[in-house]
């Protein structure tokens, strides 16, 4: 079984301040981890992924995420948030290579509100 927890329903941050969105996961085996963003009335857009290698992953729009195996976490970060980063963020996990059909399990989402 695999699961993802996003402990914060909402994160509020002032524009220009660092942004962190938390994610922890549970999976039997090596995890593949993803972050997606959903803007209002839109589909999900891929931000970044961790498969293997360097624990710090860089993605779109200045976002990065750090994989921490001991803490089973994959927190999303941005050094300086923009008002346009306000959206719903989803963390997702899938099991390793032989998982059937690229089955992603999503966290419950974290709403980010960046205030000017």
């Amino acid at each position: 079984a695999q699961s993802v927890a996003q402990p914060e329903d909402q994160v509020n941050v002032a524009e220009g301040n660092p942004l962190t969105v938390k994610c922890t996961y549970s999976v039997s085996g090596n995890p593949y981890l993803f972050w997606y963003v959903q803007y209002p009335n839109r589909g999900l857009q891929f931000l970044l992924k961790y498969i293997t290698g360097d624990n710090l992953v860089k993605g779109s729009y200045g976002f990065e995420a750090e994989f921490n195996k001991s803490q089973t976490s994959f927190h999303l970060k941005k050094p300086s948030a923009l008002v346009s980063d306000s959206a719903l963020y989803f963390c997702a996990v899938r099991l390793g290579i032989k998982a059937a059909g690229n089955k992603l399990t999503f966290g419950g989402g974290t709403r980010v509100l960046v205030k000017p």
């Binding site: 997606y36 891929f46 032989k98 059937a100 059909g101």
Partner: protein
């Protein structure tokens, strides 16, 4: 060019009716998915097709029947619609390579289904 498209964008219908949602992708991917996003924004996979073969079939009422006429299309037919079927339905696609199993999924814009 739209990568993953869905029609219709909005669907309002009465309980008991039968309706279909269509999805098309022009990315050349071999795998397509249907997700349901409920009113609390929780996202859950329903089905996945790989090269027209059903490979993921989650616990979904059998009133929901996916059909994939070819790799680029995945339709969702829903019989005897119920109030609880009201949600946003997302189609997604990816390239499912078993030697490169970590390809991200691309999502369509969603179909908002409202059952009255």
């Amino acid at each position: 060019d739209t990568a993953v498209s869905q029609t219709p964008k909005y669907l309002v219908t009465q309980m008991g009716n039968d309706k279909s949602i269509k999805c098309e992708q022009n990315l050349g991917h071999d795998t397509m998915y249907w997700y349901k996003q409920d009113s609390k924004k929780f996202l859950k996979i329903m089905f996945s097709y790989n090269n027209k073969e059903l490979i993921i079939n989650e616990t979904v009422p059998n009133r929901f029947s996916p059909k994939s006429p070819d790799k680029a299309h995945l339709n969702l037919h829903i019989n005897s619609l119920e109030l609880g079927d009201s949600a946003v339905y997302f189609c997604a696609s990816s390239q499912l390579g078993y030697s490169t199993p970590y390809n991200e999924q691309f999502f369509g814009p969603g179909t908002r289904l409202t059952v009255l």
